[in-house]
């Protein structure tokens, strides 16, 4: 470091600025977080999509104008296909193996961490397995195949995550929770640490919304479902199911933790669950923590499996019963093997009972297994509506377009065209939706979207 001649302690300008610049580098390095904040990539993608919008809108507008002059028909196609769909989240897996199908498991039964590009993280316990079932730009549909998983879901706009555990579905916005599913014991546990989740499945006539600290346990074998309050923040530990009527006072310290798990602290909820009598006849055990039994159903699980009767049962209003029967039989097997009419009935049952994600799964199976049938065409329309309902209008638009392409004279054509018109208007502006409005008024002059179509044509 050079010093000026008249004052040995005085730096020359170059050395002075070099020293400060070095200090500035040190401060920047100390402040650097190492990598951008969780979700930064996802937000960048969202910004790119927004920036792509105006250019596409211009393109769509020009295409629409041209097609109006050419009688309007082609605009329905051109106006929609240019819209850019959001890209699905991506993820990486630490300490685990993943198959192309999205099936994830820890290497040699060790824990594994799955981190999504929006910052959501899932920690699989030792021996746990999980599948990434369906992607989405704002979340994913996941399935806990076996074992325990800890979820930290980022709370971002339009976040849409669902976790399937056996026949149960946990719907998530942004929260921290644990899920365990044991296929051998037919036990589902959901423990909520932060936020809010909505659980649906057998023995729940409606969705159960959990609050922080609550712990839901469902035992399918004994038709037992309960929600414990103040279950604490301890992770779910593996609790052996009551193979026979459980002793009323099983010792609380016998719960075996999973291999590799942290030493468990005594867990009131787990103790409660283990001590819960499987039938009403057994005497209840004194609770350490307040427990609220949501349902205690002591009748045996429905043994019948009669998909040929589903259609009639749905018509008679037993949609929830049909869904229960399907999930009890094994949804994968049903989706893979049921005949066309049964799948249609199951999709209807799922929609009517609010099991939207299950409905999507069945509708997709309809299209895959019975392509070209009227049911597959109708499935496209219903998939569009379901996408609309979960806040994915572009995806919905794509499904409506498919429906109109495949069955232009189908029973839902008016509804599909009307929804297409509104979606294009919302996403790309009124001028882009005008060809659709013209088409709608021509084909359905007394349709339910009549006023919307007129408003689009009369607007600026």
């Amino acid at each position: 470091m050079s010093r000026s001649g008249d004052n040995p302690g005085r730096l020359d300008d170059e050395a002075l600025l070099a020293g400060l610049s070095e200090a500035a580098r040190r401060v920047a390095a100390a402040d650097a977080a190492g990598e951008p904040a969780p979700g930064a990539w996802h937000r960048l993608e969202a910004r790119r999509a927004r920036q792509a919008g105006p250019a596409l809108r211009g393109w769509v507008r020009r295409a629409a104008l041209g097609t109006v002059l050419c009688a309007g028909a082609a605009a329905v196609v051109l106006g929609v296909r240019g819209l850019r769909a959001g890209r699905a989240l991506t993820y990486d897996v630490g300490g685990g193996a993943v198959a192309e199908s999205g099936y994830i498991r820890g290497v040699a039964g060790e824990p594994a961490a799955v981190r999504f590009s929006d910052g959501t993280q899932i920690d699989l316990a030792a021996g746990a397995r999980m599948s990434v079932v369906a992607p989405g730009p704002h979340g994913a549909r996941l399935r806990v195949e076996e074992g325990s998983a800890h979820f930290s879901v980022m709370h971002l706009p339009h976040a849409a995550w669902t976790v399937e555990a056996g026949p149960y579905v946990v719907e998530v916005i942004g929260t921290v929770f644990d899920v365990r599913w044991s296929s051998a014991d037919e036990v589902v546990e959901v423990r909520l640490h932060q936020g809010s989740v909505r659980v649906s499945g057998p023995m729940l006539t409606e969705h159960a919304t959990l609050r922080p600290g609550q712990h839901l346990t469902a035992r399918l074998a004994t038709r037992e479902l309960r929600i414990d309050e103040n279950a604490g923040a301890a992770p779910i530990v593996m609790v052996p199911p009551p193979a026979a009527p459980a002793p009323a006072a099983a010792p609380a310290d016998t719960a075996a933790p999973p291999a590799g798990a942290a030493a468990p602290t005594p867990e009131p909820a787990a103790a409660e669950t283990r001590a819960t009598p499987p039938t009403r006849a057994a005497p209840p055990r004194a609770s350490k923590a307040p427990a609220r039994a949501v349902a205690l159903v002591d009748k045996p699980a429905r043994a019948v499996f009669a998909p040929e009767r589903w259609s009639a049962r749905v018509s008679a209003g037993d949609a929830a019963g049909v869904v229960d029967e399907a999930v009890a039989h094994g949804l994968d097997a049903v989706v893979a093997s049921a005949d066309g009419p049964s799948l249609v009935a199951l999709a209807d049952a799922a929609r009517y009972s609010g099991r939207k994600y299950l409905a999507e799964r069945v509708l997709l199976a309809q299209r895959t297994r019975f392509p070209g049938t009227p049911a597959a065409g109708a499935a496209a329309f219903f998939l569009g509506r379901l996408a609309d309902d979960r806040g994915a209008p572009r995806e919905g638009l794509d499904w409506y377009r498919r429906y109109l392409d495949e069955t232009p004279q189908g029973p839902y054509a008016a509804e599909a065209l009307g929804r297409t018109m509104l979606a294009v208007s919302r996403l790309a502006g009124r001028s882009a939706a005008r060809p659709m409005a013209v088409e709608y008024l021509r084909r359905f002059p007394e349709g339910t979207y009549l006023l919307h179509a007129r408003a689009i044509l009369q607007g600026p």
Binding site: G9, L17, D31, E35, R43, R87, A97, G102, A140
Partner: protein, 203 residues
């Protein structure tokens, strides 16, 4: 719409591609490479933005802007192996634009300092950060281009020819502006004993 398959971006068996391979994939328009580029380069770009801007909260908006331009302009990169320098040049230009905007806001009296209000982020060495923040405040008294040239040369340690290329000026112009900026900043720094001490000299 058929679901877009998830893509594995890292895994136990994955062999990481080189910087040049990522750049080449981006130039081919391979969208798969975009996330890989983000994972590889965003930490460095984020730190470089900190060096260029000085202490303060994370500026994810600027990092996004950097990568938006990076993806848009990757086709103009001549040498794939120089992708980090290419990205660094974009960082410098983005920050220069940010500083110019800040100066315009200050001139228009939209905010007292020209900075948009952000919550300060405490760090591990508060005293040094405060002093360095004063140093960056002095840099902000330069014009946006002079500040950018000065920071690129002294803090980012780019060569003069690199500085000239990034700023679209000749080497001699860059040298002249750098000398002018250095003289002015040195004079300002000498009035602040803490800064002189931090630089390693006596006040």
């Amino acid at each position: 719409m058929a679901p877009t398959p998830f893509r594995i971006i890292k895994g136990a068996a994955a062999k990481p591609p080189t910087d040049a391979e990522i750049a080449e994939a981006l130039r081919r328009g391979d969208r798969e490479a975009e996330l890989e580029a983000w994972n590889r380069f965003s930490p460095g770009a984020s730190e470089m933005l900190r060096r260029l801007l000085g202490p303060g909260p994370d500026r994810e908006d600027l990092l996004q802007e950097v990568f938006l331009r990076f993806y848009r302009r990757i086709g103009t990169l001549r040498e794939p192996a120089a992708v980090r320098g290419f990205l660094g040049g974009i960082c410098i230009r983005v920050v220069r634009g940010e500083i110019a905007g800040r100066q315009r806001r200050r001139w228009l009296h939209l905010t007292p300092t020209g900075e948009t209000p952000d919550a300060p982020v405490p760090g591990p060495d508060v005293e040094a950060r405060d002093v360095i923040a004063r140093y960056y405040a002095m840099l902000d008294r330069l014009s946006a281009t002079e500040r950018s040239i000065f920071v690129a040369r002294t803090i980012e340690r780019l060569t003069l020819s690199e500085v000239a290329e990034v700023h679209g000026v000749s080497v001699s112009t860059a040298q002249r502006r750098l000398a002018r900026a250095s003289k002015r900043i040195a004079a300002l720094v000498r009035r602040d004993p803490d800064l002189v001490r931090l630089a390693g000299g006596s006040a």
